[in-house]
């Protein structure tokens, strides 16, 4: 009777869940027609499912606790492989080849959703600067995205400016907005920062919704032009392919820039800020500047992504920029493993592509998505890829500096 205590416990848990879900799952009242439907079959399903799952759950924890205690520094197999050049070089080549071949073998629809996923890769990488590197929990990232999208749509509508002019303009406006949000919240820590960024995003969305004269209100702006290609008219499919390559190029640029920044002076300042704000200040790092830079830079990518989003859907309205969108981008960053570029890319592709391909599941898609978020956090709380801390060495070029003269 090796598993007896587990079985007993599972039985109790199954009973608990049957009781817990009883009113919602079994009874369905139609107060309009005054009918009660009793769905007893659901009770049986929940009971058996809870029994099996809780049993597996307990086995998992028993095994985990039986195993040797895992040291914090130990990284996952995936992470180790990722940092092994023997592994990642051929891997990178294959990925690059697939990326280039993809639009020529996939259908229009596939290209389209891949483009959407790439927009989220950009968003994820941008938010990663704020949350992953600098440790500033931003629950209103979508605001910067909206600024980008609306600056393209509005400036194009009023002044007829083109996509290529407005891509940097959208990015700059978003960065400006980032600094605007950043200033008042500089003094705030952790969760206060989170709610204030959320508040800013909600205010922006509500203003866009209400101020018809400025933003055309909830009915949005339609017929936003797709990006031009040297003045040539593209068919729908051609422009999808064009859009795809545009995003691939921008993603590569993003990765390059973020990779460079990550290990620059400001990048290291952010990491220090994330790990310990007080110690960071004591080390003489300009906290204000570092924080504002993180906000501005994170917002820049969101602004660019926003411009691309508006150009891709050709229609925007405030409903696209809700809190849920921010939560989704945050989930990408955390699932990817905060601070890891590869992790964020994998997570963005997974979060956007999976629900799209799981449409077969219909109504159950979102509930499974919710469950997946919880399970991911329980089994991989540090994300898919845990960024390995980089060791920095201080090397001097040329002659070693003269030893410090001490006062006698």
């Amino acid at each position: 009777m090796k598993f007896f205590p587990e079985l007993k416990k599972s039985f109790v848990i199954a009973l608990w869940f049957m009781l817990l879900t009883f009113p919602v799952l079994v009874i369905r009242v139609n107060t309009i027609e005054n009918i009660v439907v009793w769905r007893w079959i659901n009770l049986a399903v929940i009971g058996s499912a809870a029994f099996v799952l809780s049993f597996l759950w307990q086995l998992y924890w028993r095994r985990k606790s039986a195993a040797a205690p895992v040291s914090v520094a130990q990284t996952s197999a995936l992470t180790r492989r990722m940092s092994d050049p023997k592994f990642y070089r051929p891997f990178l080549i294959v990925i690059a080849a697939l990326t280039l071949v993809f639009p020529f073998v996939a259908s229009h629809y596939q290209i389209n959703i891949m483009t959407t996923a790439l927009i989220y890769v950009m968003l994820g990488l941008g938010l990663n600067i704020e949350v992953g590197l600098a440790g500033l929990l931003d629950l209103g990232y979508v605001a910067f995205y909206a600024v980008g999208a609306y600056s393209y749509a509005l400036l194009n509508y009023h002044f007829g400016l083109g996509f290529w002019t407005l891509l940097p303009v959208g990015a700059l406006l978003a960065a400006f907005f980032g600094i605007l949000v950043g200033f008042p919240v500089l003094r705030l820590r952790g969760d206060y920062l989170a709610i204030v960024t959320l508040a800013f995003a909600e205010i922006l969305r509500l203003v866009l919704e209400n101020w018809n004269a400025f933003s055309f209100g909830p009915s949005g702006i339609s017929n936003i032009p797709r990006p031009g290609f040297f003045g040539i008219d593209l068919t729908l499919e051609q422009s999808a392919v064009y859009m795809y390559f545009l995003l691939v190029a921008l993603c590569v640029l993003t990765i390059f820039v973020i990779h460079r920044i990550q290990h620059s002076r400001i990048g290291r300042a952010w990491v220090a800020l994330r790990e310990d704000e007080l110690a960071c200040q004591a080390m003489g790092i300009d906290k204000t500047r570092a924080k504002l830079a993180a906000f501005a830079l994170g917002a820049t990518w969101a602004g660019m992504a926003g411009v691309l989003f508006a150009a891709k859907t050709t229609f925007i309205n405030p409903a696209s920029f809700t809190f849920l969108e921010s939560a989704m981008i945050l989930a990408i960053v955390v699932l990817g493993g905060m601070g890891s570029i590869v992790g964020v890319i994998i997570a963005a592709l997974a979060i956007i592509l999976l629900p799209e391909y799981l449409r077969v599941l219909g109504d159950y898609r979102m509930i499974l998505f919710g469950a997946a978020l919880i399970l991911m956090m329980i089994f991989r709380p540090r994300g898919l890829i845990t960024p390995a801390g980089k060791t920095y060495e201080f090397r001097c070029s040329g002659k070693p500096a003269a030893p410090e003269k001490r006062l006698p």
Binding site: W16, F17, L19, L20, T21, P23, V24, L25, I27, R28, V29, T31, I32, N34, V36, N42, V131, L137, P184, V185, R187, L188, R189, G190, D191, Y192, A194, I195, V196, L198, A199, F200, E202, I203, L206, V207, N210, E277, L278, F323, A327, L330, A331, V334, L335, M338, D363, Y364, M366, I367, F369, G370, A371, A372, L373, I374, M377, I378, P381, R382
Partner: protein
């Protein structure tokens, strides 16, 4: 009565509900430093359970006070049970993880619970019966204050006073406050921290369920999505008052409710939520730890 008085009452009603839900946020935050995003969903589940029980009882021919009491009791019990279970599944395995992991897990739980109710029940709005039994007293004051407004304000006041007394004078309350101040230290002095956390979730969920029933019977309709808006506002209220502080949550809720009510009344309801968020930002700029939050000077 005049316009001002009516807006004041409306604000108090709304604020009481925010406060009831905000208490759950603030208590959980005080102990776990976790933004429990699924808390709004508990409020929704409380309202739904009450609706289901009340409908069945009404169909059996019961009316009046017994329906209210039975439905309320069952709903509070169930909401507590859900709160307890949510903590065990989504947060307890993450005690040692970084701060963001439980947050994502909470967002996942919120999406899960919303869709769970939507799939198991309906995505339509359902009418929520007015559970208040007719009474001469309420009729008599109805020129002065709406019956459901009166019940909401009084009930929330009573519940909040009871909670304060519970925290102040019982052994459990002391243990809770100790855990909130310093979890490890409390553990060392013999407090069963896991049990305290569970109880915090149970109490917070019960309060949310009470809020859910009150407001559902006031507004007269519910669907699976009502928890989202209420949750965000209540969280805002909790932060406004100083998150982790119990009187802060009550005050924050009231301030927020009044701000929305007067903002709508004297300016425009177009920007109803904007008033709430603008007040939050303004107060946090001048008092970064909220109205009643302890200003915690970090030390090394």
């Amino acid at each position: 009565m005049n316009f001002f008085w009516d807006l004041l009452l409306g604000g108090l009603t709304r604020g009481s509900i925010y406060a009831l839900i905000a208490l759950g946020y603030t208590m959980v935050y005080g102990i776990l430093q976790l933004i429990n995003f699924a808390h709004g969903e508990i409020y929704m589940l409380g309202a739904f359970t009450a609706l289901i029980v009340a409908s069945i009882l009404t169909m059996q021919g019961l009316t009046g006070l017994p329906v209210l009491i039975l439905a309320g009791l069952v709903a509070v019990l169930y909401a507590s049970a859900y709160g307890f279970t949510v903590e065990k599944i989504a947060y307890k395995p993450l005690r040692q993880a970084s701060r963001l992991s439980p947050l994502i897990s909470a967002i996942g739980m919120s999406i899960f619970l919303q869709n769970y109710v939507m799939l198991a029940q309906t995505s339509d709005f359902l009418p929520f019966p007015n559970l208040l039994p007719p009474s001469d007293f309420l009729d008599a004051i109805s020129v002065w204050i709406g019956p459901s407004d009166f019940v909401i304000i009084v009930t929330s006041a009573v519940v909040m006073i009871a909670l304060s007394l519970l925290l102040k004078f019982t052994k459990m309350g002391r243990a809770m406050r100790a855990t909130a101040q310093d979890r490890e230290m409390a553990m060392l002095t013999g407090v069963d921290v896991n049990r305290i956390i569970s109880r915090t979730f149970i109490i917070g969920s019960a309060l949310a369920a009470i809020g859910g029933i009150l407001i559902a019977s006031h507004v007269g309709r519910i669907n699976f999505y009502i928890g989202f808006n209420a949750g965000i506002k209540a969280f805002t209220a909790a932060v406004l008052g100083g998150i982790g502080s119990i009187p802060g949550a009550m005050l924050g809720g009231l301030v927020l409710g009044l701000a929305e009510s007067f903002g709508t009344g004297y300016i425009s309801s177009d920007y109803e939520s904007v008033f709430a968020f603008a007040i939050l930002i303004l107060i946090l700029i001048f008092k970064p730890d909220g109205i009643l939050g302890r200003s915690s000077q970090q030390k090394v």
